[in-house]
Structure formats: structure tokens, C-alpha cells
């Protein structure tokens, strides 16, 4: 088992192997995310019962929660990929980390926007300094920092390493930020405007949510793979296997 993992790791380091492997996956991942999205949204928007307090406006949860979850996991994944690059100098890891940053930031933005849209009917305002909203906002700032640093450092190697260091420092900071914000919020405004406590969701509401969460993770994987493949093509453009690709696809000159 262990040897299998080691072999897989060494293979993952090969851009060509990754590119060829994922070529077969793209179709299935895309299919899965479309089907999951249709099923989850139809179940969630049409068949799930309305919330006894919020009526139909709660249905945005089927976009909001998955996006927020993915945005948080994406940061962890970016930092781990950065650490792999820093420790073992694996180039693929750096490319994956670079591929994740804008996707994670986009999901973070989606979560914030849907949160604002949800907040309007529920709280009567687009934005409150709720603990969770604030920590998502700070997560977005951390993503912005990583992306700004990637753009600013000219040397490619140094920009990968710098972004990895920043992501790791951010990863250590995220729990501290999260808990300090929660502590700050409970101090300033006691539970007036909390996200409605989840009263152990009705199964008909929960099932679409689980489907949407899984689907969003699949979509995230698909997007990361697509962007990583672009990074691979760009960095390996002078290599013979990349130059042979157009002919294999039937294009040629």
C-alpha cells in the first residue's frame, strides 16, 4: 500500500502522466457536475419544503453553503500544494497551487455575494458584521494577497515559493482569525442576527444540500484540473510530447 502511494506520488510529479490521465477524466467530471447540479437544484428549488421561518428565501443555501465550503477547503489545498512544492520541489504542486488561487477566490466571492442576497430578505440588510461573514471576507483578502504576490514577483520560481510561504502563514492564521472574529462578534452584538440555527434539517432539505456540496467539489476538481492542464501546456510547450498534441487531435498545421 505504502509503496503504491509512493509510486503514485512520483508519477504525479510527471506533467505528461498527469495530462494524459486527466484527459480521460474531464468528460466524466463535467458530466457528473452537470447532472449533480441539475438533480440537486431541481430537488432543492422545487421539491424541498419551504423553511418555516424564512419561506423560500432559504433556498439560496444550495449555492451558498457549497461555495463557502469549497472556498475554505481550497485554501487548505493551496497551502498543502505549496508546502509540497517547498519541501520536495515538485513543480506540478506549484502549478496546482497557482491553478487553485483564482478558483478558490471566486468561490469565496460567490459565497459572500449569495450571503448578501440571502441577508437582504432575512436580516433586512445586505451586510451585517456577522462572525461568519467577516471571516469569509478575511479569507477573500488572504486569497487576494496570494494572487497579488504571485503577480508581483517576476521570477517564476520565486513567485511560486513566495505564494506558498504566504499561503502557509495564512493557513496558520485562519483558525486564529476565525476564532478571534467569533469572539469579537459575540462580544459586540449578542445573537441578534445569527444565521438561523439549523434545527436539524428536514431530510428533504438536507439531501439536495449534500448533493450540491458533492457536486461543487466535483466542479472544483474539474476547474483545478483544467487550469493545471493549461499550466502544464504552457510550461512544457517546448517539449516534444506537447508539440505532438495538435497532430494527435487531428489538427496539424
Amino acid at each position: 500500500m505504502w509503496q503504491w502511494i509512493v509510486r503514485l506520488y512520483h508519477r504525479l510529479g510527471s506533467p505528461k502522466w498527469f495530462y494524459e490521465l486527466t484527459s480521460k477524466w474531464i468528460f466524466w467530471l463535467a458530466l457528473l457536475s452537470v447532472v449533480g447540479c441539475v438533480v440537486g437544484l431541481v430537488l432543492g428549488l422545487l421539491y424541498a419544503p419551504a423553511d418555516y421561518q424564512q419561506g423560500n428565501s432559504f433556498r439560496i443555501i444550495y449555492i451558498h453553503v457549497p461555495a463557502a465550503l469549497v472556498a475554505q477547503s481550497a485554501f487548505i489545498m493551496m497551502a498543502v500544494a505549496g508546502a509540497v512544492f517547498l519541501i520536495w520541489k515538485m513543480k506540478m504542486a506549484a502549478w496546482v497551487a497557482r491553478a487553485i488561487a483564482p478558483i478558490g477566490a471566486s468561490f469565496c466571492l460567490i459565497a459572500l455575494l449569495t450571503g448578501a442576497i440571502w441577508g437582504k430578505p432575512t436580516w433586512g440588510t445586505w451586510w451585517v458584521w456577522d462572525a461568519r461573514l467577516t471571516s469569509m471576507l478575511l479569507l477573500l483578502f488572504l486569497y487576494f494577497g496570494v494572487m497579488a504576490l504571485q503577480r508581483a514577483i517576476e521570477s517564476e520560481e520565486a513567485s511560486h515559493k513566495g505564494a506558498a510561504i504566504l499561503a502557509l502563514v495564512g493557513l496558520v492564521n485562519i483558525p486564529i482569525i476565525k476564532y478571534s472574529v467569533e469572539w469579537w462578534n459575540t462580544l459586540h452584538q449578542p445573537a441578534t442576527l445569527k444565521l438561523t440555527e439549523k434545527p436539524s434539517m428536514h431530510p428533504d432539505m438536507l439531501l439536495p444540500l449534500l448533493i450540491m456540496i458533492l457536486t461543487t467539489y466535483v466542479l472544483f476538481a474539474l476547474l483545478v484540473i483544467l487550469r493545471t492542464r493549461n499550466e502544464i501546456l504552457w510550461h512544457e510547450r517546448k517539449r516534444s510530447w506537447v508539440q505532438a498534441l495538435p497532430e494527435m487531435l487531428g489538427g496539424g498545421r
Partner: protein, 222 residues
């Protein structure tokens, strides 16, 4: 070790010969805080409520302003290469740089804060709390900020970038420190907040020099 001491001595000497380096952030601190009564409301009762937060935001911005120059000269004139070639632990050097930065920015800010407290009508009970929170909190700002300074040392117009990278990480310090001042002003206990700041200080003394050392090495491959 002698190299670390020599660096500390040299940087302090440089700061002494070039007072603008540590005076400018102080003046900036004063001016930023002075903007708030002008912009918001000069009513003392209102000011005393926001004093702690405003003073802390001012201290934070002043620290960021002075961080930009922390490693710039060392990267440009080749001192960094000499450090790396010397075989001295970069961890200790990063720690020493952060210490000097605190001596030249955090400490003067802390000492000047009572004057600003007067201007902001800070409640009498809050002065000790404010001084304590600044004394424990500003070293964290220097340590965390030195990571950003090391990352952006070789980047053109790195100052703005540095703020983007580091400001979100300053949030926990800001929350606990401002809350300590506020509670002290109300006559409530604030040792919990100071305790949290102390824990963060211990954590950042241990961890941030690793990140700074790793980031400093990047400036060579540029």
C-alpha cells in the same frame, strides 16, 4: 551569534543617524489619529468610545508604513548575500531584524500613545490597558510584518503589496487589543485579552522567523 549582535547594533546605529526612519511613522501615527475627530465627531463622549480602536488602527498603519524598508536596503546592497554566505542561522537574523524594527517603531508608538489618548479623550482607567496592549501587541505586528517585508523586499512598489498581504493577518491582534482598551475604559477586567495577545506573541516569536528566513532566500533567485 556575533553577526546577529552586529546586525542589531548596525541597524540601531543606522536608525540613530537617520532619524526620519523612526520619526516619520510617529508623525504619521499622530496625523492619522488626528483625522478622526475632524472627520467623524469631536464630541469627547463619542471620542472616548472609539479612542482605543482608532489609536490601534493608527499604530497598525504606522507599523505597516515603516515595514516596507525593513529588508529593502539589505537586498539591494548585498548584505543579504553576505548573511547567507556567513552560515549564520537566518532564523536568528530574522528575529533580530524584527526586534530592531520593534525598537524603532513599536516602542516609540507605545510611548507616544498616551498623548494621543489625551487628544482622543481616552477614559482615565484605560491608559494602563492601552500601554499594556501596545507593549504586547506591537511586537506581533513587527514579527508578522517582517514576513511580508521579506516576501516583498525585491518587488517594485512593494509597500502597497505588503499592506495587502499583511493586513488580514493583523485582524486578531487588532480585535483583542482594541477590546482590551475598551474594557479597561469601562473599568472591566481585560487580562484575558492581554493573555491572548501574549499567546499570539509567543506563537509568532516561534514561527514567523521560519517564514521570514524562507522568504529571504527567495530574494537571491531573483
Amino acid at each position: 551569534m556575533s553577526l546577529v549582535m552586529a546586525t542589531i547594533k548596525r541597524d540601531l546605529l543606522l536608525a540613530g543617524r537617520n532619524p526620519g526612519e523612526w520619526l516619520n511613522p510617529l508623525m504619521f501615527f499622530l496625523m492619522v489619529v488626528a483625522m478622526f475627530p475632524l472627520a467623524v465627531d469631536p464630541d469627547p463622549e463619542f471620542l472616548s468610545r472609539i479612542a482605543g480602536g482608532v489609536i490601534w488602527v493608527g499604530a497598525l498603519l504606522a507599523t505597516l508604513l515603516s515595514l516596507d524598508a525593513l529588508y529593502k536596503a539589505d537586498v539591494e546592497d548585498g548584505t543579504l548575500e553576505q548573511w547567507l554566505a556567513s552560515g549564520e542561522s537566518l532564523y536568528m537574523l530574522a528575529l533580530a531584524k524584527a526586534l530592531v524594527h520593534w525598537l524603532c517603531s513599536g516602542l516609540p508608538l507605545t510611548l507616544m500613545a498616551p498623548v494621543l489618548g489625551l487628544m482622543m479623550a481616552l477614559p482615565d482607567d484605560a491608559y494602563i490597558g492601552m500601554l499594556l496592549s501596545l507593549a504586547v501587541g506591537t511586537p506581533i505586528l513587527s514579527l508578522l510584518g517582517s514576513v511580508g517585508a521579506a516576501l516583498t523586499a525585491g518587488v517594485r512598489s512593494g509597500g502597497l503589496l505588503l499592506s495587502l498581504l499583511i493586513l488580514p493577518m493583523y485582524v486578531p491582534v487588532l480585535i483583542f487589543a482594541a477590546s482590551a482598551v475598551y474594557h479597561a475604559g469601562l473599568g472591566m477586567a481585560y487580562n484575558g485579552q492581554i493573555g491572548f495577545l501574549g499567546a499570539m506573541l509567543a506563537l509568532s516569536v516561534c514561527l514567523t522567523p521560519f517564514a521570514s528566513a524562507a522568504a529571504l532566500k527567495l530574494n537571491l533567485s531573483r
